[in-house]
């Protein structure tokens, strides 16, 4: 179902058209993903596997729960913009065909700075290196730039110069238009496939293969939402909190009618409030820890609207046939084990998991950057200097790919990485060094909260101090 009216957002819904899914007409609008249009139509399960039906989990191209066939080509429905007349179907027993050889089709592209990922970190890096006069290219695998800021409708904390008080999508709009203003070229639908030791990155953009040869690289590939193991977690209707945000806040598609949210960190609390704004009932927020993980103010916003937060509770199973119908939760003991006899059953068609994120740093690992496992930062992250340079000279990391934090720190680490790239290519210009110091100062300030203590501990182990 589509959201007709929203208190914060306006959905453009231009150029209505249809495509066919398994022979059935599906209505869609320009700029909508196939996955969103299918969800709006009520199609939940997209993939049939031997043990059940799978649906979208991430909505940003990671989980492959949305794999479909489009005009004979296998693709992720969440990354595929709808076009009139597409023929979309479930994939059968898919056997990939050998790609036809297309000699001479690769194009070479030499750039000063290559930025991978167009979220707050990548755009911020691109803006500051673009402002320094460098030729900057951003590569984004989605069909719209902005990363996950695009689906944030709440106002951000912070000070004026860090966009405090603006809503996430408004920050994304500003970053994108500023980047374009300073001459940054943003390539969308252009996934970076990998790095080749001959010194180029392979990028697939539309029909062409690009071999990008950059003089400096910023990897700002973001993060992936975590899955939680419990019976039924694959059922369509069980999805990451971010996936529901994509549906309701980006496309104006109602993710469900009655929701249970797992995890009372900031993401879980914020998404619960956004669900209410989208007209979805939130039956409960379930948190395994004895305390709420996110900021109190975010919890207070949903508590005063009557949403219960069940601390010391966990989800024990999800039930349903072709899609989610019920969620069973239970209290946990000191060892975090469910206590028999404490089960509560919720009739829910939506179960959102907000149990943390994992840095998406595979490109850096593939390039050979020295990586380290950091529980505090959410997973494998690259060692880096305080100027965000990895163990590979001229290759920088920024945002959640360097460790899970939030949008403000992503913007700031992006600025630091962007200035570092500029310093490398333009020399240690005083203005660049000063601006980088200023970004570092703001970063330290932003991390001086009780919630950042863990991150700061993690950073101490992954930041390699270098004499500059």
């Amino acid at each position: 179902m589509r959201i007709a009216e929203h208190p914060i957002l306006e959905f453009k819904r231009e150029n209505p058209h249809t495509f066919a899914f398994e022979g059935v007409e599906v209505e869609a609008f320009e700029g909508e993903s196939l996955a969103a249009a299918l969800w709006a139509k009520g199609v939940r399960g997209l993939r049939r596997v031997s043990w059940g039906v799978l649906g979208p989990f991430c909505m940003i191209g990671y989980c492959s729960g949305c794999l479909v066939e489009v005009d004979g080509r296998r693709t992720r429905a969440c990354l595929e913009p709808s076009r009139p007349g597409l023929r979309v179907g479930r994939i059968g027993d898919y056997v990939p065909r050998l790609a036809a050889e297309q000699p001479g089709k690769a194009e070479e592209l030499e750039v000063d700075v290559m930025v991978v990922g167009s979220g707050p970190a990548g755009l911020s890096a691109a803006i500051v290196s673009g402002e320094s006069g460098l030729d900057v290219h951003v590569f984004e695998r989605h069909f719209r730039p902005g990363g996950q800021l695009v689906k944030q409708t709440h106002k951000f904390f912070g000070s004026g110069e860090l966009f405090g008080g603006l809503r996430g999508f408004q920050i994304a709009e500003r970053l994108v238009s500023r980047a374009r203003e300073v001459g940054v070229r943003i390539h969308t639908r252009a996934p970076v496939l990998g790095y080749f030791k001959e010194g180029f990155f392979a990028v697939s953009e539309g029909e062409r293969l690009l071999l990008v040869k950059p003089r400096a690289v910023v990897v700002s590939t973001g993060a992936v939402e975590r899955l939680l193991p419990f019976p039924g977690n694959y059922l369509p209707g069980v999805m990451g909190a971010g996936a529901a945000q994509t549906l309701m806040n980006e496309y104006g598609v109602k993710p469900g009618e009655r929701a249970v949210v797992v995890g009372a960190g900031n993401v879980g609390l914020i998404v619960s409030y956004q669900l209410l704004q989208a007209g979805v009932r939130v039956l409960a927020v379930v948190e395994v820890m004895p305390e709420i993980g996110g900021w109190l103010v975010h919890a207070a916003k949903i508590r005063r609207l009557g949403v219960p937060i069940l601390t010391r509770h966990t989800v024990v199973r999800a039930e349903g046939g072709e899609q989610l119908e019920r969620v069973v939760v239970a209290a946990v003991d000191e060892r975090m084990e469910p206590v028999p006899g404490t089960e509560k059953v919720f009739d829910a068609d939506l179960l959102l998991l907000s149990v943390g994120l994992t840095p998406e740093s595979r490109l850096l690992a593939q390039m050979g950057a020295r990586m380290v496992w950091s529980p505090e930062l959410g997973g494998y992250v690259p060692y880096r200097s305080e100027y965000m340079e990895t163990s590979i000279p001229g290759v920088y990391v920024a945002g959640d790919a360097s460790g899970i934090e939030e949008a403000t720190t992503a913007i700031l680490t992006g600025r630091v990485a962007g200035y570092s790239a500029a310093v490398r290519l333009l020399g240690p210009r005083r203005d660049l060094l000063e601006k980088r110091e200023e970004a570092l100062r703001l970063l330290r300030e932003a991390r001086r909260t009780p919630f950042s203590a863990r991150v700061v501990r993690g950073l101490e182990r992954v930041i390699v101090r270098v004499a500059q």
């Binding site: 408004q170 103010v297 207070a300 001086r448």
Partner: protein
């Protein structure tokens, strides 16, 4: 403890010195901050043209100078945490000003459910005044005098 409950009790706010005395509320509207954690944010301070809100550095709890504050409600609309409210007992009548971001949009004269910090219904009140700050409606609602520190949300009837 508020971190397991999800909201602060009035008693806790009082202990932290965040609740203006009744005499001040009787003199007219005044802002109350319920932002008790050290959030790296100073949007309220930056928005107050009277300099009545101060945050130590970019973080720390905001404090309201009850003598300077006129209860205009701008901070209610800008606060990203929706933790600013305006209360008044002027003329012996209770009024609370709070943020609202739902549908239908509210307008003066509409009657709404009054909700506590815990989401309990505390009765019905009438909307008196509404203005908007970046899509957040700042709503002043009439409430019984004894409830000015209790009502923290409204919901359409």
């Amino acid at each position: 403890m508020w971190r397991s409950r999800g909201y602060v009790e009035v008693e806790e706010l009082k202990q932290m010195g965040l609740v203006p005395p009744p005499e001040r509320m009787e003199r007219g509207p005044v802002a109350v901050t319920e932002c008790v954690e050290e959030i790296p944010c100073n949007v309220c301070e930056a928005a107050c043209r009277l300099g009545a809100v101060s945050v130590e550095g970019l973080r720390g709890r905001p404090r309201v100078d009850w003598d300077r504050c006129t209860g205009c409600g701008v901070c209610v609309g800008v606060c990203p945490g929706q933790a600013m409210f305006v209360v008044s007992l002027a003329g012996g009548e209770g009024r609370v000003t709070l943020p609202y971001e739902f549908l239908p949009k509210l307008a003066p004269g509409m009657r709404v459910k009054l909700l506590s910090r815990r989401g309990e219904e505390l009765g019905v009140g009438e909307v008196e005044r509404v203005f908007e700050v970046n899509k957040t409606q700042v709503v002043t609602v009439r409430v019984p005098g004894e409830l000015v520190m209790e009502v923290r949300a409204v919901w359409p009837l």
